[in-house]
């Protein structure tokens, strides 16, 4: 059944509660969400036309774009050690420590770091990254190399000791960096844009596996096949607000979604 807001479900994974969140640029309201919970289902899709505010919302969650008003919180999973965390007042670098991680819509990379460097950077704990720990590289490599190799093998990077050259490699590297952070709540902003079909399928499989182990995944994607195939629930966003939520089949057939986004004859 299509709902006007998020439906209540049995919760075993972390969720993000967006409450009264608003953001304007040059007096134009870009995001205006009264109440929304993300992460009640293992994989949730967020779709909408260009300019709907999807990427801005993702950036607001990560606090890389500040809110004009409102609050965004990470809700507990239910275990006794888990307490609500207000994300919208948190330093961006602390997000990853709370397991909230996001891949980037536009390609972002460390131009001077190799692929191996990039993966080890994600994996290395702060205690090794101290100015006095100048002999700890071999320790870090011994501890984490196997984790990195798993993804290097899966995605078949051309030269892991070299730099990511193509846009596709950089996109994959961005996703792998996120995965290596062991996210509890993973936001993916167009993760498969520009990737060939075979790699898109591998990325989708990795996301399914991750969600199966308890990570909440929210994915923004213009390739709607990815959304329909992956998502357990889809949110439809237009003009800064999430106006519909439901299972993928219902959303793709909903008249509002067809009128505002998909167009007639899309199915």
């Amino acid at each position: 059944m299509v709902t006007e807001r998020s439906e209540v479900a049995t919760v075993t994974r972390p969720r993000i509660h967006i409450h009264g969140a608003r953001k304007s640029f040059s007096e134009r309201v870009v995001v205006d969400i009264d109440d929304l919970i993300l992460g009640e289902h293992p994989i949730e899709g967020l779709i909408g036309p260009n300019g709907a505010g999807k990427t801005t919302l993702m950036r607001m969650i990560m606090h890389s774009t500040s809110l004009d008003e409102g609050k965004i919180s990470l809700l507990p999973t239910g275990s006794k050690d888990d307490v609500p965390v207000v994300l919208s007042s948190m330093h961006p670098h602390k997000m990853a420590k709370h397991g909230v991680v996001k891949s980037n819509q536009v390609i972002m990379d460390f131009e001077k770091l190799t692929i191996w460097d990039s993966l080890l950077l994600s994996l290395t704990e702060a205690r090794y990254e101290q100015p006095q720990r100048i002999f700890s590289e071999s320790e870090v490599f011994a501890e984490h190399a196997d984790e990195a190799r798993k993804y290097l093998d899966l995605f078949e990077f051309a030269d892991p000791f070299g730099h990511a050259e193509s846009a596709g490699e950089k996109k994959l590297l961005d996703i792998v960096r996120c995965l290596l952070l062991k996210p509890r709540f993973l936001l993916l902003d167009e993760p498969t844009a520009g990737l060939p079909d075979e790699l898109t399928e591998r990325v989708m499989q990795v996301i399914r596996d991750l969600a199966a182990t308890g990570t909440a995944v929210v994915i923004v994607e213009h390739d709607l096949n990815v959304i329909w195939n992956l998502s357990d629930k889809v949110h439809f966003m237009a003009e800064g607000s999430v106006i519909l939520g439901g299972d993928p089949q219902e959303i793709r057939e909903h008249s509002t979604v067809i009128a505002k986004y998909l167009g007639e004859g899309h199915v």
Binding site: H91, H93, M95, F110, W116, L121, Y128, E137, F141
Partner: protein, 316 residues
Amino acid sequence: MNLDWLDAFLISGLFDIAMVTGLALLLHLQLGLARIANFGVVGFWGLGMYTYGVLYIQVDWTIADPWRFLICAAAGTIVAGLAGLLVGWLIADLDDDGVLVGTLGFATAVFILATTEQDLTGGAIGMGGLRFPFDVGSTKANESLWLLILVLLVAAILFYVARVHRSPYGRLLVALGDNEPLARSLGKATFRVKLGQFALGSAGMGLLGVMFGVMERFLETSNLGINLTLAAIVGLVVGGTARVWGPLVGVLFTVGLFDIVIQSYLPLPRSWYNQAIPVLREMAFGAALIIVLLYRPFGILGDMRRDKLMRRIHGD
């Protein structure tokens, strides 16, 4: 050992080369890796030197050298490091232009303080009374030994910098210099790391200032001009901002070439040495900088090669 070949001029020239190399190495970590454009090198260096000098001379010490020296040197290093912490806190989130102006402003503040606080520093007249923390005989022997100690110190800095390149800390510095928002999104406390690096580098610069103060045995505010900062920056850029050996190669190519080879072995008129030589020196450094930036924009040694490094340390 026969040290006849080592005259006072050569000792002074070699000391300058070693000291500027040390400063350029510390700047390499800040500018070359973390992309923090510190143009206040002489400020931290001068603060270390003057803190050392003022404590050594103005305090009525009941203990003798080398403990007196060690305490004053430690104080000079720590004060420079704390100043780095304060300045770093103010500039860490500024853009490159802001960092440049902020650090230049700090160096100017140190110069003005050293000039105006005459009771403490001797002001423009200067302050004497410093001496080596040892006495192994003649002035030349003491200066030679002090030069050797400085060379060992700079060699230690070079070793540290080389190890940083091969460490997770070095990778983090490169990452935050390369793309700070991305590094932050990976959970890296970039502000704290930049602050720490700035304070550490500033402390090192302060220590090199202490070394210079002991060598000169007389503190003058004329040493606190922009020349020293320019020498370190030009040396670093000419050699290769992002390469471990870049500072040494660049400083040898600029300070070494001019201060030792040209001044010592070219038959320049004696009358040039007072006025013309310092100006010619700056012109030569400027020309070297322009030529290198035109034809080798990453410096003589080129850009960073993490691919080669990673293959060497983790390759099969």
